[in-house]
Amino acid sequence: MPVKTTENGEFKPLIVAFCCNWCSYAGADLAGTSRLSYPADVKIIRVPCSCRVNPLFILRAFQRGADGVIICGCHPGDCHYTTGNYYARRRMTLLFSMLDYLGIERKRTRVEWVSAAEGVRFSEVMNDFAKHITELGENKKLEDLRCKKSLD
């Protein structure tokens, strides 16, 4: 289980960000090049397109103790593969709605469209998301207790 508190006992969330290679990952790179900081709690996984993100990945992240999962892709209409983010948009909307229906905090998941030119936006989005997740606190509803126990 990841360490989730700082030395002074503050909650440090674990956030998994799936970023499409062409827009959002490049946007994250631009944020880096521009030295625009966001919390180190955010860890990025590169995927070719937001449509590569399987609901399984999201649930697995929560199962293993992630506190928030964010999916970033090209703006609708700008997908490198023309239509990928449109499919991702429907899938994620329905999945998030289902998680909400199951009583999971609806702000733990998010989709944001960030272009390769939006380094500033990328950092703003991550700061904002991390802020929300920190406020929500630890994800208790979806994590896999077994994972926790085995490492305790």
Binding site: V16, W22, A40, I44
Partner: protein, 663 residues
């Protein structure tokens, strides 16, 4: 057995300043499967790459993780490196500990912790990497140029020069673009037509170049090396092959009061017209909206006077399908609409004109035959005020955030030409900054001030008030700290330029990306300025960003060089990170086919062994055409059984990454 090597780059101090690289290497060494880990100052340097190659050989590594800058930067470099050491180039993963770690975190402890997690994530992924081999595909040796302005013409001429076929598709009835409307060019004051029209003629006469004027690209399918385009050749109601361009029809046409687009509506043209004297192709076109015959069925005068018999009232749009190996986007620009800036009274007075309109008013082929006259009353203007940055350099809510780049220079040109031709005219230029970076540019601007006595006022105009046939211009002079009021006869607005409105649809069609201003995005702002991130699509001219003519031509030729480089290849290696269907799991349900944007998935009946007396059964299973698949992964999520997976980004690999991050 995995034998993974981890290489941590300092990137000078770029990484090493906020990440303890030694600690990262140390932590990586403890990961299962890792047999070697080290750090080095510059992994991408020749010495760094040699270190990697040596380590691969010495330690018989089966996979390599490099903790360095973004994979978008050096993934290709390091793939070559590991390949040179005998490893499959896809047995490499990059942990991005610069852009997504050292550069954004200030605390070394925090940075190091995150870098270790990123390294461990890459290690978890590389353990599941499989050797991949790039596929091959053929190259159609023909290029498509979208847009026939100076950019498109120059790219086409250069590509044709190298011996390849080029098609230019231009939506106007003639090629030439905006440059045809310009009178003189800075900083040499050449006549624009004199330098452009020979190029237009060259393009028309070149055997390798085919011009589709009055045409638009409607659909593009395929991928680098083998695009298939549908071109709509709009009906011009004149047979292009028969028309001699004599102009008899245009002088006889009774429908004469139609806005002349070439002169920006400053005068009129007939319903059948040739845009201008040097048009290429020099063929008449009928404006169906204005043609009396087309509207009422009566008239037919042009048909009667045409000795070549070229008039075809029943001509239909034609769809032409052609194949291309490369596509050049040269869709150009337009001045912005000025309705948002009514403080300058553009809509209130005909004597407030845009700079492009001024070009027409000063051009010998323009509405005034080159004599500068006020559009309102045809008198000579004696006081002219130029206003810079109209709609440029604004905040996003007010206009374009960028500098349109060409206005400072053309305004100096206009001011200079007016002062030269009409020395009795007072010329004032309101400017915020005068930007003249370019060869002989500042000298040119200084000449306008020093030699021609143009009055440059540092400040902006607040408003223009039309009154009694004059224009009261009120602005600030920041240097003398006073508000100035000038009673002017004409006001010229340096309107910002914006990409042609077709840019967005062209970008969508080509799956190329555009920025928030609709300029096409280049593959790399510095190192790949003429390529789009979409393979096989190249950028020429202002469609990529504001440019003057010399820059446009330079970029057009650079773009041509890239196209030639592509067309010179017989085979292209394709990205091996494509989808693959596991036939043993596939139930042939077609959901993957439904979401594939490339039509890369087909179905085949295959025989499978099954338990039971029948022993085998025929099943419909998905097949991926690897040359067509671009590797987006839409199918992998649509597939409920997980039969569809993406090489290089497999479900297992991404799951391993998730697990490594959440450990």
């Amino acid at each position: 057995m995995h034998r993974i090597g981890v290489f941590v780059c300092w990137c000078g101090t770029n990484i090493a300043a906020t990440v303890d690289v030694k600690a990262v290497a140390e932590a990586a060494r403890k990961e299962p499967g890792v047999v070697f880990a080290t750090d080095y100052q510059y992994m991408c340097s020749e010495a760094g790459q040699a270190l990697i190659r040596q380590a691969i050989k010495d330690n018989a590594l089966t996979g390599v993780v490099i903790c360095s800058c973004s994979p978008r930067m050096h993934e290709a470099t390091f793939r070559k490196t590991v390949q040179a050491a005998g490893l499959n180039p896809y047995m490499l993963e990059i942990a991005n500990i610069r852009e997504q770690c050292s550069w954004i975190h200030k605390d070394i402890k925090e940075g190091t912790e995150k870098a270790i997690i990123l390294a461990r994530t890459a290690i978890a992924k590389v353990m599941l990497n499989k050797p991949l081999t790039a596929g091959e595909s053929a190259v159609t040796k023909r290029a498509l140029v979208i847009g026939g302005g100076i950019a498109g013409i120059q790219s086409a001429l250069d590509i044709a020069e190298a011996g390849y076929e080029v098609d230019i598709v231009e939506k106007q009835p003639t090629i030439g673009g905006k440059m045809t409307q310009i009178d003189k060019t800075f900083p040499t004051l050449d006549c624009a037509a004199c330098i452009l029209t020979p190029k237009m003629v060259d393009a028309a006469q070149n055997e390798k170049i085919k011009i589709f004027s009055y045409s638009q690209v409607e659909e593009v399918k395929g991928f680098v090396g083998s695009f298939k385009a549908k071109i709509r050749k709009k009906a011009r109601f004149v047979d292009e092959n028969l028309c001699t361009g004599c102009g008899d029809c245009t002088s006889k046409c009774p429908s004469k009061k139609n806005k002349n687009e070439f002169n920006l509506g400053l005068d009129n043209r007939p319903a059948i017209y040739i845009p201008f004297a040097q048009a290429v192709p020099k063929v008449a076109v009928i404006d169906a909206e204005a043609c009396i015959k087309k509207k009422t069925g009566k008239c037919g005068l042009c048909e009667k006077v045409c000795s070549a018999g070229a008039i075809k009232y029943d001509q239909q749009d034609e769809i032409i399908e052609r194949e291309y190996g490369a596509i050049v986007v040269a869709t150009g620009f337009n001045p912005i609409k000025l309705d948002k800036y009514d403080e300058y009274a553009y809509s209130q007075s005909p004597d407030v004109v845009t700079s492009l309109e001024l070009e027409r008013l000063m051009n010998a082929a323009g509405p005034t035959q080159g004599t500068l006259l006020r559009p309102s009353d045809g008198t000579h203007p004696h006081t002219i005020v130029f206003i810079q940055c109209v709609g440029s350099r604004c905040d996003d809510a007010r206009g374009k955030s960028y500098c349109s780049k060409i206005c400072c220079m053309y305004t100096a040109k206009h001011a200079m030409l007016i002062r030269e031709k009409y020395p009795d005219t007072d010329v004032h230029v309101f400017y915020i900054d005068v930007r003249t970076p370019g060869k002989n540019f500042d000298e040119f601007y200084r000449r306008a001030v020093e030699q021609y006595g143009v009055d440059y006022i540092k400040g902006m105009v607040g408003k223009v008030i039309p009154h009694d046939g004059k224009l009261l211009v009120q602005g600030s002079d920041l240097i003398s700290n006073e508000q100035v009021k000038i009673d002017a006869d004409m006001v010229v607005l340096a309107a910002a330029i914006e990409p042609d409105p077709t840019a967005r649809s062209v970008a969508t069609m080509l799956t190329a990306s555009i920025d928030t201003n609709d300029f096409f995005t280049e593959a790399h702002p510095k190192l790949r300025p003429v390529e789009s991130p979409t393979a096989g699509v190249f950028l020429s001219g202002v469609c990529q960003g504001p440019k003057d003519i010399p820059e446009t031509v330079a970029q057009a030729s650079a773009c041509a060089a890239k196209v030639i480089g592509l067309l010179a290849k017989d085979k292209l290696l394709s990205n091996p990170c494509v989808a693959r269907a596991d036939e043993s799991l596939c139930s042939g349900c077609s959901v993957c086919q439904n979401v594939c944007p490339y039509g890369a998935i087909t179905y085949e009946d295959r025989e499978f062994r099954i338990p039971g007396p029948k022993r085998s059964e025929i099943r419909r299973v998905a097949q991926v055409n690897e040359a067509v698949c671009q590797g987006c992964g839409a199918c992998t999520v649509a597939c409920p059984s997980g039969a569809m997976d993406l090489k290089g980004f497999s479900t297992k690999q991404i799951m391993a990454e998730v697990d490594a991050i959440c450990r």
